[in-house]
């Protein structure tokens, strides 16, 4: 029996800034995850009054306290927040800060402080991993040289030290637009203390970036601290990720082809072999959360249930992890 637990990412329920703001919507989403067999939920950092689940201050404003939010989770039969995804380039209306960059030394203290606060809340919510976007998109920064990689490594090592104080691990989430995409992930990892900084494996992002997740597990399996299972429906083989503002033009709009990049595991046309990835993770001794997600979805409840079917019927048996009580 492995130490793998299954969670679902909530981001698919919020396609636009004014969606998914009301309590009853959160309740229905969390109950849907729960009944589909997921024990945890992954949150995504957000800011402002229309992001009630976006950061610890909003949780407090909406649920009285972070602990109040955990009670709400429990009332929906969800056990924990597995993890929180945070891109430091997102501003904070609560703290009146603009984008922060790990490449800018002056920003590092603020990044470390923010990571620490997120980790503190995450610990209170039963979670274990803070996911960060380690560097901006490839089209939005100068190519990363050794000096840049040193700075990035120092930043995340410091942040990892801060989160570790709360018992939370810090994992670098490398997406398909990342300036690290090409070859820099090993170089960056080599610069960091394996006790302080790990890797988050996102099957969909890797596949969309033309990288085989099985190869990453084989090469860097011992550094993997977090896993996200999403499917990829297309590969960026035209290197569109090198464009400026690719977050909008490539990720959101779908690039020149206006493709849909991602979907829940098991979606029609999906490129990822989830049973193979699951077996490889077990073989590599992975222990921790596997967070299933679709990124965005035209029909979030259907995505969660279809993914739940795949996990219950095909993937969980490979892992040998116990089903949550009542799920067969």
């Amino acid at each position: 029996m492995s130490g793998i637990r299954w969670a679902y990412a909530i981001n698919q329920w919020k396609p636009q800034f004014d969606d998914f703001v009301r309590r009853e919507q959160h309740e229905r989403a969390l109950k849907t995850m729960s009944i589909a067999g997921f024990e945890g939920v992954e949150l995504t950092y957000g800011t402002g009054r229309w992001e009630p689940l976006g950061n610890p201050r909003q949780l407090a404003a909406n649920f009285g306290s972070v602990a109040g939010f955990r009670e709400f989770l429990h009332s929906c039969a969800v056990d924990a927040v597995s993890s929180w995804y945070w891109d430091p380039a997102e501003r904070s209306m609560e703290e009146l800060t603009g984008p922060l960059s790990p490449l800018t030394e002056a920003d590092v203290p603020a990044i470390v402080a923010r990571a620490s606060r997120l980790a503190e809340a995450l610990a209170a919510l039963g979670g274990s991993v803070l996911l960060v976007r380690p560097v901006p998109g490839a089209g939005d920064v100068e190519p990363l040289d050794d000096d840049a990689l040193d700075r990035v490594a120092a930043c995340w090592e410091a942040a990892g030290r801060a989160t570790a104080e709360h018992g939370i691990r810090l994992a670098l989430h490398v997406d398909f637009l990342s300036a690290l995409r090409r070859d820099h992930v090993p170089s960056l990892l080599d610069r960091t203390d394996p006790a302080l900084v790990g890797l988050a494996l996102d099957t969909g992002e890797l596949t969309a970036g033309g990288i085989d997740p099985l190869a990453v597990i084989e090469r860097m399996g011992d550094r993997i601290w977090h896993v996200q299972f999403k499917d990829a429906l297309a590969v960026d083989d035209a290197e569109e990720y090198l464009q400026p503002h690719a977050h909008w033009t490539v990720r959101v709009r779908g690039g020149a082809r206006e493709v849909r990049w991602f979907a829940e595991p098991g979606a029609e046309g999906g490129l990822v072999d989830f049973p193979a990835v699951t077996r490889a993770l077990v073989d590599a001794g992975y222990s921790g959360w596997i967070v299933v997600e679709s990124d965005q979805s035209p029909h979030p409840a259907a995505s969660a249930l279809l993914a739940g079917y795949l996990v219950q019927r095909e993937l969980r048996p490979l892992v040998g992890s116990a089903a949550p009580e009542g799920v067969s």
Binding site: K31, I35, A36, A77, L305, L306, G308, R313, S328
Partner: protein, 319 residues
Amino acid sequence: MSAVTEDERAIKWSYMDHWRSNGPTGPVDQWHSHKTMSAFLKQIKATGFDAIDTFDFRIWQMYGDYGGPAKYQEMVRDHGLERIVNTFHAADYDVRNYAPHLPETHANILEDFRVTMGRWSEIELDNIIVMPATLFYDMEPITEDKLKYSAECWNKVGEITAGFGVKLTCHHEFFCGIQSEPDIETFYSYTDPRYVSLFVDTAQHCIAGLDPVALYDRHAHRVSGFHFKDTRNVATGDDHRHRPDSEIMAPTTGKWFYEMGTPHGLVDFEAMMTAVRDNGYRGWISVEHDKANKEGGDYSESTAISRWYAKNVLEEIYR
């Protein structure tokens, strides 16, 4: 909590066939294609349902697309679900040729059931569910004679279905001719318990102004199943006799039915489940939420919420 093994479970959960997903040209039901059927069954299984119910009129698609009910049931089983538990017989009631309160139409009704039961005989069903009367406005005034004729009709139908090993059970829509408490009581006083069972739809009785728990308690010995579904409105004025239709067109609301576990629901499911336990019922409870997609709803979500409620609230009472 101690784990309950499969064999120990008194209650299993079945999902009644109402579903819409979104196709390229608008909403489609799960029978649209093998793909949509598979996606439906996966979602029903993922939420922990044990089986499905269906409609009689689906048998044409079972034959046309899957090779018949037995073959279709194999697909259901391949998705981890046990079987098809009940079928709902949605007849075209018409006072000219198909009206239980009009004896001159009984021969036609009996023949319909002989043919229907033959079609289903290749699989095992628990119940064939009927609305036991025409639309209210086609039966009113509701007289004792009409209730008696109706009972006689269903006694004979029940004898036919019993010959196929299937119970005939009555589901009292709020807009059918037998829906008030006194009329339901009179109707059952004339039916033969060996041949006519009661199928308690929590929402329909609630809309008609009855307490479904009390009704169940009175008739528990002949209740052969349930539709657990919720509503937010009790019928008012002429809702139950709204011409030409009450189920979708009544002015009170554009959406009578909600999944259990919804806020503002009028059905007391905890009391219902307690009664199910206290009456020692063992077997299937069906979950239904027809027209869940109206007014912005989503079948996948309604299915998840209702099954979440069954697992996290009702199974704590009885399972």
